[in-house]
C-alpha cells in the first residue's frame, strides 16, 4: 500500500512539473511535449539494461550441478535396490 502511494506521488509530481513546463513556456511548447515520451523511453532503456545486466551476471554453479547429478544417480540406484520403479535414465 505504501509503495503505490510513493509511485502515485511521484507521478503527480512529474505531471505537475510537466504542466508547469507546458504553461510557463520557459522552453518551446514542442519540446515540453517530449517529456512524457522521454520518460517512457528512459524507462524502456532501464528495463533493457536491467535484463542485460541480469543476463550478463547470471549465477551458474557447475560444481553444484555435478554434485546434484551424482546425488540423482545414487538415489536411483538406492531406489532400484528397494524395488521402486524410477523409470529409465
Amino acid at each position: 500500500m505504501k509503495h503505490i502511494i510513493k509511485i502515485s506521488s511521484l507521478l503527480v509530481a512529474i505531471m505537475a512539473f510537466w504542466i508547469g513546463l507546458l504553461e510557463t513556456s520557459i522552453v518551446p511548447r514542442s519540446n515540453a511535449w517530449l517529456l512524457p515520451i522521454y520518460l517512457i523511453v528512459s524507462l524502456g532503456c532501464y528495463g533493457l539494461l536491467m535484463v542485460g545486466v541480469g543476463l550478463m551476471r547470471f549465477p551458474t554453479c557447475p560444481q553444484e550441478a555435478g554434485l546434484l547429478q551424482k546425488d540423482i544417480v545414487e538415489a536411483k540406484e538406492f531406489l532400484k535396490q528397494r524395488g521402486v520403479d524410477v523409470g529409465s535414465d
Binding site: L48, L49, M56
Partner: protein, 80 residues
C-alpha cells in the same frame, strides 16, 4: 551456452545505454545548442523524436497482442 547468454546480455546493455545517451542528447541538450551548429547534422528533425518512439511502442504492442493471440489459439486447440 553460457558465453552466448553473456554476449546477449552485454549486447542488450550496450544497446540500451547507447539509445538512452543518444535520446537524452537529442531531446534534453540539443534545444540549448544553436540551430546552425554542426552537431545538428547528426540528428534528425525534432518531430522524429516523438514519432519514432510512438511508432515503436505501437508496433511492440501490436506484436505482443498478436503473440498472445497465437498462444491462446494454440492452447485452445490442444485442449480440444
Amino acid at each position: 551456452m553460457e558465453l552466448a547468454d553473456r554476449a546477449v546480455g552485454f549486447i542488450l546493455s550496450v544497446i540500451s545505454i547507447s539509445v538512452f545517451t543518444y535520446y537524452t542528447f537529442w531531446v534534453i541538450i540539443l534545444p540549448f545548442v544553436e540551430t546552425d551548429h554542426f552537431i545538428h547534422k547528426y540528428f534528425l528533425p525534432r518531430e522524429f523524436a516523438m514519432l519514432i518512439p510512438v511508432f515503436a511502442g505501437v508496433a511492440l504492442l501490436s506484436l505482443l497482442c498478436i503473440f498472445i493471440g497465437i498462444v491462446m489459439l494454440k492452447s485452445k486447440k490442444k485442449k480440444a
